[in-house]
C-alpha cells in the first residue's frame, strides 16, 4: 500500500460522495423495511420520505463542513452508479485519535461481498489517512451477523451495556467493540 493505492476504490465497490438528487430515493425504499435501522442501534426505526432524507443529508454535509469530526460516504459498485450502502467514521476526537464507525448495506444488496470490501476501505482510511489509534463499533446483541462480521476484522468485545434496548417485548444488551491500530496492522489484507 502506498500513495498510488486508492483510498476509495476496492475490488468490488468504491466510496463516493452523496448524490443529493438520486440517493434519497434509494434510502427511502430501504427505510420502509425497518430491519436495517433496527440492526444498527436503539434509535426507533421509521419510514422516511425521500424529501426528509434529502434534508437530513444536507444538514449532515453542513455538519461535516463545520465540525470536522465525520467522514460519510456512499458505497457503489465499481462499474455501476446505483447506491448499495453507506458508511461513516464519526465522533472523531482528534486529540485522542479515536472515532466510531457505522456501516449499512441495502437489504437487496447484502451477501454479495460489498460490505467486506467497503469495510476494508474504511479501515485503511481510518488508520492510514486519518491516523486514528482506535475505532469503535456498537451493535445490538441480536445483530449476530454484524457481530460476526466485525470480529472477523479483528474487533473485540469491550463493553456490554445491559438491557439498553427494549424491542419486541424484551430487553437486549448493547455491545461495544474496539479495534486498535496495532491489531489492524496484522490483519492488513
Amino acid at each position: 500500500m502506498d500513495i498510488a493505492t486508492s483510498l476509495y476504490t476496492g475490488k468490488l465497490v468504491r466510496l463516493t460522495r452523496i448524490e443529493l438528487e438520486k440517493d434519497p430515493e434509494t434510502l427511502a425504499v430501504w427505510s420502509k423495511e425497518a430491519t436495517l435501522a433496527r440492526m444498527l442501534n436503539e434509535t426507533p426505526a421509521r419510514p422516511l420520505a425521500s424529501e426528509q432524507i434529502k434534508k437530513r443529508l444536507e444538514s449532515m454535509e453542513k455538519e461535516i463542513d463545520e465540525k470536522h469530526e465525520m467522514f460519510y460516504f456512499h458505497i457503489r459498485p465499481l462499474e455501476e452508479e446505483k447506491l448499495v450502502g453507506w458508511g461513516k467514521i464519526y465522533w472523531i476526537l482528534w486529540p485522542s485519535q479515536i472515532a466510531n464507525f457505522q456501516m449499512a448495506i441495502g437489504p437487496s444488496e447484502q451477501n454479495k461481498g460489498y460490505g467486506a470490501d467497503a469495510f476494508r476501505l474504511f479501515l485503511r482510511l481510518a488508520f492510514d489517512e486519518l491516523n486514528l489509534n482506535r475505532l469503535s463499533v456498537s451493535l445490538p446483541e441480536y445483530n449476530i451477523q454484524g457481530i460476526k462480521f466485525v470480529k472477523k476484522f479483528g474487533f473485540s468485545e469491550e463493553v456490554r451495556r445491559r438491557e439498553v434496548i427494549f424491542r419486541d417485548g424484551r430487553r437486549w444488551d448493547s455491545l461495544h467493540f474496539g479495534l486498535l491500530r496495532s491489531e489492524w496492522s496484522v490483519n492488513h489484507d
Binding site: 436503539e42 485522542s96 479515536i98 489509534n133 468485545e157 463493553v159 451495556r161 438491557e163 461495544h176 474496539g178
Partner: protein
C-alpha cells in the same frame, strides 16, 4: 410516598438561575484537573456570558432534554457542583454526568450522595429502566463513588484517551432499576412493586 426527594444528609439537588450556573461552570473549568476528569474533549475556557446563553436555551426546553441540578452542601448552602441526566432514550436509558467543582468538598461523600439522589430521581420519578455513565481509568475516586451509589462495571474501552503522552482506558458503568431497588429501596422507603 416520600415527597422530599431532592434532599439528602449532606447535599440537596437545587435549581439555579443560568447566571449562577454560568459563573460557577466557567470558574470550575479553569481548574484543568476538574475538566480532565469530566470530559474527553479538551476544555475550552468559555466566558460566563457564553455559558449563560447556552444554558438559557437548554433550560427553556420543555420537556427538558437535560435534567440539570445544582449540588448544594446543606451545612453552608454553597453551590459545590452539578449533576445532569441527558440523552434519555425511548428505551428508558440515560447518561449521567456529575462534577464537584469546589475542591474543598472532594473525597468527603458529597458527590456520592448527590449521585444517589439523582438515581432516586431517575428511577422513582422519571421511571427509567437504567442509568449509564463513563469514567476514566485515572479517576479511581470516581469509580469507587459510583460503585457505592449502585453502579456496576460493564466494560473497558481500551486506549480512548491520550493525555500527558499516555493512553488510558475508559470504563462504562450502568445501574438497572431492579438492582437499584434491591439495594436502596428500603433506605428510600420505596415499594419494590414500582418496578
Amino acid at each position: 410516598m416520600i415527597n422530599n426527594i431532592f434532599h439528602g444528609k449532606l447535599v440537596r439537588l437545587s435549581a439555579e438561575n443560568p447566571e449562577t450556573y454560568a459563573e460557577h461552570f466557567s470558574r470550575w473549568w479553569h481548574d484543568s484537573e476538574y475538566g480532565r476528569l469530566l470530559d474527553l474533549a479538551p476544555g475550552a475556557l468559555f466566558s460566563p456570558k457564553r455559558v449563560k446563553e447556552w444554558l438559557e436555551k437548554e433550560l427553556e426546553k420543555d420537556p427538558p432534554e437535560m435534567w440539570l441540578f445544582g449540588i448544594r452542601a446543606l451545612e453552608d448552602d454553597k453551590l459545590i457542583g452539578f449533576v445532569d441526566l441527558s440523552g434519555a432514550t425511548p428505551h428508558g436509558d440515560t447518561f449521567v454526568g456529575i462534577g464537584i467543582g469546589e475542591r474543598a468538598y472532594w473525597g468527603k461523600g458529597y458527590g456520592t450522595e448527590a449521585m444517589k439522589l439523582v438515581l432516586r430521581f431517575a428511577f422513582a420519578e422519571l421511571g427509567l429502566h437504567r442509568v449509564s455513565l463513563d469514567v476514566f481509568e485515572y479517576n479511581p475516586r470516581g469509580v469507587k463513588s459510583y460503585e457505592k451509589a449502585g453502579f456496576r462495571m460493564e466494560g473497558r474501552v481500551r486506549e480512548m484517551i491520550l493525555r500527558d503522552g499516555q493512553r488510558s482506558d475508559v470504563f462504562f458503568m450502568g445501574v438497572l432499576r431492579e438492582d437499584w431497588l434491591k439495594q436502596f429501596g428500603a433506605e428510600y422507603q420505596l415499594e419494590s412493586n414500582i418496578s
